[in-house]
């Protein structure tokens, strides 16, 4: 029986901003790479879903990833579910890696790949940190 604790990843969806696309794509890829360690939820389900969705962050130690300083993922998770264990911010990650924010919101290719990889790297590290401290 699978009893290992999984980490909940809550991504900003940021439809309006390129940082949101970076966020979504990095979180999605990390989830596919670490299916045994991670789960996710669509952020608006905290409102549109039921009790099951709102208990997400109480069931899973959660990492939020936000695309801008408004920090929708972190704020919504804490307000509507439970306080996240770690919060990440795309502009901070890109700055740390010396990368510019991509200019477009869709049709990502090789030009945007370094930004996505930087976020995956930071997020994977955050997952290991949270798992090590459970």
């Amino acid at each position: 029986m699978e009893t290992r604790v999984k980490i909940g990843i809550v991504s900003c969806s940021g439809e309006e901003r390129p940082e949101g696309t970076v966020c979504r794509m990095a979180c999605r890829r990390l989830l596919e790479q670490a299916t045994d360690k991670t789960v996710t939820i669509c952020l608006p389900l905290f409102i549109a879903g039921g009790r099951e969705e709102r208990t997400f962050a109480t069931k899973y130690p959660t990492i939020t990833v936000d695309g801008c300083e408004k920090r929708c993922a972190a704020r919504a998770t804490e307000t509507l579910s439970a306080k996240p264990r770690m919060t990440l911010l795309i502009p901070e990650i890109l700055q740390k890696h010396g990368l510019a924010v991509p200019k477009k919101r869709r049709n990502y290719g090789p030009d945007e790949e370094p930004a996505i990889q930087a976020v995956i790297e930071e997020l994977a590290g955050a997952v290991e940190t949270v798992l090590a401290n459970i």
């Binding site: 991504s11 900003c12 969806s13 940021g14 439809e15 309006e16 901003r17 949101g20 979504r24 794509m25 979180c27 999605r28 890829r29 996710t40 669509c42 952020l43 608006p44 389900l45 905290f46 409102i47 549109a48 879903g49 408004k70 929708c72 993922a73 704020r75 919504a76 307000t79 509507l80 919101r105 869709r106 049709n107 990502y108």
Partner: protein, 137 residues
Amino acid sequence: MDTSRKVVVLPCSGIGKAYGALSREIAYELAERVRPDKTAMTCLPLLVISDSDALKLVRENPVITIDGCPLECARKSLEAVGAKPAHACQSFKFYVAHKELKPEGVAQLNEAGRKLAGLAADELAATVDRLIAGEDA
């Protein structure tokens, strides 16, 4: 006509399903290619945290919601802040009407999905025009 009036295109935020990605792609097609001067987008999670600018935008302009699954996060999140969509649709229904174009892929849509998004945006253009003119969707 009030030229500052925009139709807000609000797709679901689905990050786990192809139809969520399709919803978002339809919104981008509509806002970037088909009706760039008549539409605006906002991030759906901004409504979840009651961001004042986002609330003002959706309360003062007609909104088209495009949802990716029956849970209808976009429509419900809009209604939760006291606004109603002028037009609510589900991306799956565009696939039902164009079954030769099966959307696949979650992070990014396949070519069929992108074509379907373009067709859907073209179909929604008339709705945008009616809403800008102050007519019903």
